[in-house]
Symmetry: C2
């Protein structure tokens, strides 16, 4: 289990336990973690002892009272707290990892959340979170998306993905899913930030989508494995979506859409907030138009608009990593459908492509068997081959695309 | 002919002649009219004499040269200049009027155009231009409008019209026509500013629309009767649309739409510029999205958004006329039909209103006789009374509006 293998010392295990006991964003725990070690806090909870008086830990009678109530909340979950060994086993079996503040993979921008910073993050997938977030945009919106909204989310995500941007979203139906899928099609990194355990697919219909995202990018959560989602959890989760990304794009949002909550977090964090306009006659665009008019969100219509706004913020960082933006993408630049030729493919992708039947379709498992590669590899290669225009999805799986 | 009857002295006749000889916005003529009397300028053109050296009239050799070229341009049209009596006859027969800077009906806001101020305006229709422009919005856009754009233009114009706003547009196919029609449907004042003579319907398919506009509002032009339109004339005309209105709304505009030229004039004049968003997938909304993003145009989706932006600018003026905006219009607020009460009317308007038959309709001349006021006064009062919801147009003239 990575909790142990990467950080065998107590803090990581203590933080893992705290994600089981406290809801993310709990101000009492955030304040305590600013001045006490995680292991100390955990020990105090277990012993039913409040930490001694000190700044943020309960100077006044009122904050002492709040702390007592918090302690009771956290202690109520102690009976269900798994043993360290069980947490480790669950992680190992589920292919999960835990990263904590101070870890090399911890994205610095989360620290801008202050006391509301996540205690730790549970990850599913092999990508490195910190580097994935060096140039990342969140694209979020209504679950009740229109065809127009889903189209725009997918197009903008795919175009950003082709330019090396990571697409962050919430894994929900509608705009979120369209954004993730747009990224997957172009083999871009995608990060789904969930409001439940990373091994608890919600919505259940997205189990396969999350598997695809994890195969190539990351599924991320502040909640421990197995934890179900909840209404408040979505709202708390939204601050992490906003904080992980250089800017947030709202594609469609009704007047009361939860996406506007993410937009508000982005604005509070001082991150550029963007919105895609739509027909005034569509209720799903009303929230977008309102934040353009009233919150000063930038009206964006394509990936180039997003890049124009965000590049000045991310490129100074990326230049240090040798990853500067490869050049301007304008609305008139034709998107290359066929980037690499067959000769440019890596050996796995070439093998997967060769495994395709000349006519008709094949399922993922069949292709993996034919190609003699494992399922993870075939998933990665399918995304690359689809994004490069060699293959396409069809009802019965995948098929070669006619030139 | 009103040129003679309302301003029998030379300046009006001279300005009428100048509209035949020079293109509107000619900087040489604009500069001369700032320092010379119109009759002097006309006499100088006829005599092929440059006005004596003076500020703006040719101090330097270069400006002297420009003035000589301008004089040649104007003189080239002298052979086609109708005699004063013929101009008067054409006006009388066509029901046209000419108004000049300094006339009671001249809208002060045109003077903000500086030297590019119209030399005079030819009017067709009985409304009072100055009072019609006290609370006026221009709504313009693409000729190649989509169904969506035409719908939005008509809706916004109708809603603004119901709130006593005058709708100004360019009389073109597409958005302009939809805006005019939206105003007509709610019996609001509408002003079509043409790039050709007011008796020269262009496009020809809008002859009936212009007749409807003139019956209730005004058809306006800087070009003399009979003058055909031209590409440059549309661009020059656009400054007048922008200058007559408190703000400009672009409903649909492609990337190269002429509506963006009107938008630029509005921005240069410091008037609020607004744009209606639309689907990103529609080329006809691309110009709107661009001016929202790059020019800082306000994203508006309904009449209430427009009123919220413009009321603070127009209400201080209107309060002096007893016509202040009756209050905020939200999507759910029922629209009040009657702004000012009978007690708020000036004595002329009250007298004209009292002259109306209790049942049935009356013509303008009948009402003038009944009220014992002259025709100019009755026309001014009819516009005010219609705008305030007391009376309405009907086939046989005007009638009281049912409460």
């Amino acid at each position: 289990m990575n909790v142990v293998s990467t950080r065998p010392e107590a803090p990581a295990l203590a933080r893992a336990a705290l994600t089981y006991l406290a809801e993310p964003g709990d101000p009492a725990l955030g304040a305590m973690l600013e001045i006490c070690e995680p292991a100390e806090v955990l020990a105090a909870i277990k012993a039913d002892l409040l930490p001694g008086p000190g700044p943020g830990c309960g100077d006044s009678a009122a904050s002492r009272k709040a702390l007592e109530r918090a302690l009771a909340r956290w202690r109520a979950r102690l009976p269900a707290l798994p043993a360290d060994a069980d947490i480790a086993a669950a992680c190992r079996d589920g292919g999960l990892r835990l990263i904590c503040p101070g870890d090399p993979e911890w994205p610095d921008q989360l620290d801008e959340l202050g006391q509301a910073r996540p205690y730790a993050l549970w990850l599913r997938g092999g990508a490195d979170l910190k580097s994935a977030c060096l140039r990342a945009v969140s694209i979020v919106g209504s679950r009740a998306a229109t065809g127009y909204g889903a189209h725009m989310a997918g197009e903008i995500a795919a175009d950003l993905g082709e330019r090396g941007w990571t697409i962050i979203s919430g894994g929900a139906y509608g705009i979120d899913a369209a954004a993730h899928r747009g990224a997957l099609v172009t083999r871009a990194l995608s990060i789904a930030v969930l409001a439940c355990g990373v091994n608890h697919p919600y919505p259940a219909g997205h189990a396969e989508l999350f598997a695809d995202i994890a195969a190539h990018g990351l599924v991320v959560s502040e909640w421990p494995p197995g934890r179900p989602p909840g209404r408040m959890r979505f709202l708390v989760r939204n601050r992490t979506i906003a904080a992980l990304s250089a800017g947030t794009v709202i594609v469609e949002a009704g007047e009361r859409s939860g996406a506007l909550n993410t937009a508000r977090h982005a604005a509070h964090l001082g991150r550029p907030l963007m919105a895609v306009p739509g027909p005034v006659t569509s209720a799903q665009s009303a929230g977008c138009h309102r934040i353009i008019r009233e919150w000063g969100a930038t009206c964006v219509t394509c990936a180039a608009d997003v890049i124009e706004l965000l590049s000045p913020l991310t490129d100074p960082v990326l230049t240090n990593f040798g990853l500067a933006d490869p050049g301007p993408l304008t609305a008139t630049t034709p998107r290359p459908r066929h980037g690499p030729s067959r000769d440019d493919l890596d050996s796995d992708s070439a093998r997967v492509l060769d495994a395709f039947p000349a006519r008709g379709a094949a399922g993922t498992a069949t292709i993996a068997t034919e190609a003699g590669v494992d399922l993870d590899t075939v998933l990665r290669c399918l995304g690359l081959l689809a994004g490069s225009g060699f293959i396409e999805r069809c009802d019965r799986g995948w098929r070669l695309r006619k030139p």
